[in-house]
């Protein structure tokens, strides 16, 4: 799937940056979306996401570099019925497929909160696949920011200096058997490399997180293939179901194969959270 994701990025690539600029057509009509739909989902029909997932986005990307969004499942994850995959698509970003999140029954809830870059007036979409293979889509239109906000980071030097700090935490008040909120933060420039040096006419080296794997007691609870549509210092909030003790661990890999790991030991019965970066 990573290869496929990469392929779509290559195929659509920077081509999409301005392709549907300023358009306000219906969600189904974006030219970029038609390509993404065909490449990711073939002829499959995407049903309205009512009762499956909601997508919360601001109406306007106030800060183009940090746009908070939340995808929330409308039912708990069970063996019988659960959301397996959520694709996050930002039509008019240089790389439209921002993330592919995967969940399991052990996730408890297939919710994800993160922050993305929004380059242009665009539709943002969450496509969810349930374990019966059906696909559902929620889509919101998001206005681009005003002229003085840019998707680039705020402090390129600091971003490099802090590269690799990672923090995994679990909210207090965790109870065994009930979905608990965890948060993963990675200090990383998550740089697209699309900025061109006007003197050398060469591009910067892309450097971005491409893979996130979170497990509880050795079982996956949230995996994601992501790219530079995710904001600098990638940040994810998600659920898992603690069962008294055990360990939550995260592994993050970037496109230069740098690996960052963190773990939280859940002490039974208090289930306190201690973050241990490595």
């Amino acid at each position: 799937m990573t290869a496929r994701l990469a392929c779509v990025i290559l195929a659509l690539g920077v081509a999409c940056a301005g392709a549907a600029r300023g358009q306000d057509a219906g969600p189904a009509d974006s030219a970029v979306w038609k390509k993404v739909h065909a490449s990711m989902f073939g002829n499959a029909i995407l049903e309205a996401a009512d009762g499956v997932v909601t997508l919360d986005t601001p109406k306007r990307a106030e800060d183009a570099a940090i746009v908070p969004l939340a995808i929330r499942a409308q039912f708990p994850q069970t063996k019988e019925r659960h959301i397996e995959t959520i694709w996050l698509v930002i039509d008019n970003n240089p790389s439209p497929i921002a993330a592919v999140f995967r969940f399991t029954p052990e996730s408890g809830r297939a919710d994800i909160e993160t922050r993305v870059r929004i380059e242009e007036y665009t539709y943002v979409r969450a496509v969810a696949r349930t374990n019966d293979g059906k696909l559902y889509m929620a889509a919101n239109y998001v206005k681009a920011s005003g002229g003085c906000s840019a998707p680039a980071g705020k402090d390129a030097v600091a971003a490099k200096a802090n590269l690799g700090r990672i923090r995994l935490s679990v909210h207090d008040g965790v109870e065994a058997g009930r979905p608990a909120i965890a948060q993963l933060m990675i200090s990383h420039p998550n740089d697209s490399g699309l900025a061109m040096d006007q003197v050398t006419r060469s591009y910067a080296t892309p450097h971005f997180v491409r893979r996130v794997e979170v497990r509880y007691a050795g079982k996956p609870v949230m995996n994601a293939d992501v790219d530079f549509s995710i904001s600098e210092n990638p940040n994810f909030r998600f659920y898992f179901v603690p069962a008294g003790g055990g360990e939550l661990d995260a592994k993050v890999v970037d496109n230069q194969d740098l690996e960052f790991t963190a773990r939280v030991k859940l002490d039974s019965p208090r289930l306190g959270a201690v973050s241990t970066p490595h």
Partner: protein, 326 residues
């Protein structure tokens, strides 16, 4: 700028559609060629004020950049010495820069030798291209060139989107001289002291102090009336303010809003930013999410211009910065 207006702008400018097609081929780099599309329209003469001998200020509108205001939304100015002129910021479009250049030619008999950019934001730099015929040194913070490379394509794209043909000839002009700490410029009998700041409003903030008149140009380290904007580092911003307050200046010229006595001019901005720091820290401590925090941090209730355009953005940036502290 709302979507409706932006669409109008796009429909008015067929070249931008052609430009889209070009993007398909060669990517973001082409943004730099957009300026070649046509000639910038004429705009009315710029109004100037002369608060001290040799010091000229043009007050930009307190607004976001639109077709109606030609992108003339930031304060610009120049300092005239016996030998030459230093320009301080050039406006949001080539059209504004050209109007500024004409205003200088009406007043000064000496050439423009320096064009100083106080930071990377488009409303301060896109008029640079109007001065290239003067062959000045383009002067900026040591990190300005890199920031222009990173942000330039997006800024040009947004400018074309929002202003259409008004944006023509607007281009990124990189600095030819970088300031890492402090440097002095001699205009002939008049010394300007430049100072580069650690990341504050942006990571490219540069202040200019005219010794003769004790005038301090702060760029967007000072907002007056216009809500302060955070696009760098909140704690760095507050640290810079604390340091700047010790400068013994008579007059402070902000990036937006009227020039005022120093350091009183910066008190409302400092209160606003200090308030955000406290409120966002409390929200993070209370485990509130970014979205929840955005709904609650009110910025102290002072009346600011353009508050709805920038306040939530400031809270967003502050949150992303401060959550690593917890």
């Amino acid at each position: 700028m709302d979507g409706r207006l932006a669409r109008v702008a796009v429909s008015l400018t067929p070249p931008s559609r052609r430009w889209c097609a070009l993007v398909l081929g060669v990517g973001a780099a082409i943004a730099f060629l957009q300026s070649a599309a046509g000639m910038a329209p004429e705009m009315p003469e710029l109004a100037l004020e002369n608060p001290a001998p040799g010091i000229y200020v043009h007050y930009g509108q307190q607004a976001e950049m639109t077709r109606a205001n030609f992108g003339d939304v930031a304060n610009l100015g120049f300092v005239v010495g016996a030998r030459c002129v230093a320009v301080i910021d050039t406006g949001g479009t080539f059209a504004v820069g050209r109007a500024l250049r004409r205003a200088i030619q009406r007043i000064a008999t000496v050439p423009v030798c320096y064009v100083i950019n106080t930071h990377v934001h488009p409303d301060h730099v896109f008029g640079n291209a109007a001065f290239t015929d003067d062959h000045p040194q383009f002067i900026g913070h040591v990190r300005l060139a890199d920031a222009m490379r990173r942000r330039g394509p997006n800024y040009l794209n947004a400018l074309g989107r929002d202003l259409g043909d008004i944006a023509q000839q607007s281009a990124i002009v990189l600095p030819t001289r970088s300031i890492a700490t402090t440097e002095e410029l001699d205009l002939g009998g008049r010394i300007l002291s430049l100072r580069a700041w650690p990341t504050a409003h942006t990571d490219t903030d540069l202040t200019v102090f005219d010794d003769a008149s004790r005038t301090l140009w702060l760029g967007d380290l000072l907002f007056v009336g216009h809500v302060p904007v955070l696009d760098g580092n909140l704690r760095g911003f507050l640290a810079a303010i604390a340091e700047l307050k010790t400068v013994r200046a008579n007059l402070a010229i902000p990036g937006h809003g009227r020039a005022l006595a120093w350091p009183e001019a910066i008190a409302p901005e400092e209160r606003y930013l200090t308030g955000i720091l406290a409120e966002v820290r409390a929200a993070i401590k209370g485990k509130r999410t970014l979205a929840e925090t955005l709904a609650t941090v009110d910025g102290g209730g002072e009346r600011w211009l353009l508050f709805d355009d920038f306040h939530r953005r400031n809270v967003t940036a502050a949150y992303a910065e401060l959550e690593w502290d917890e």
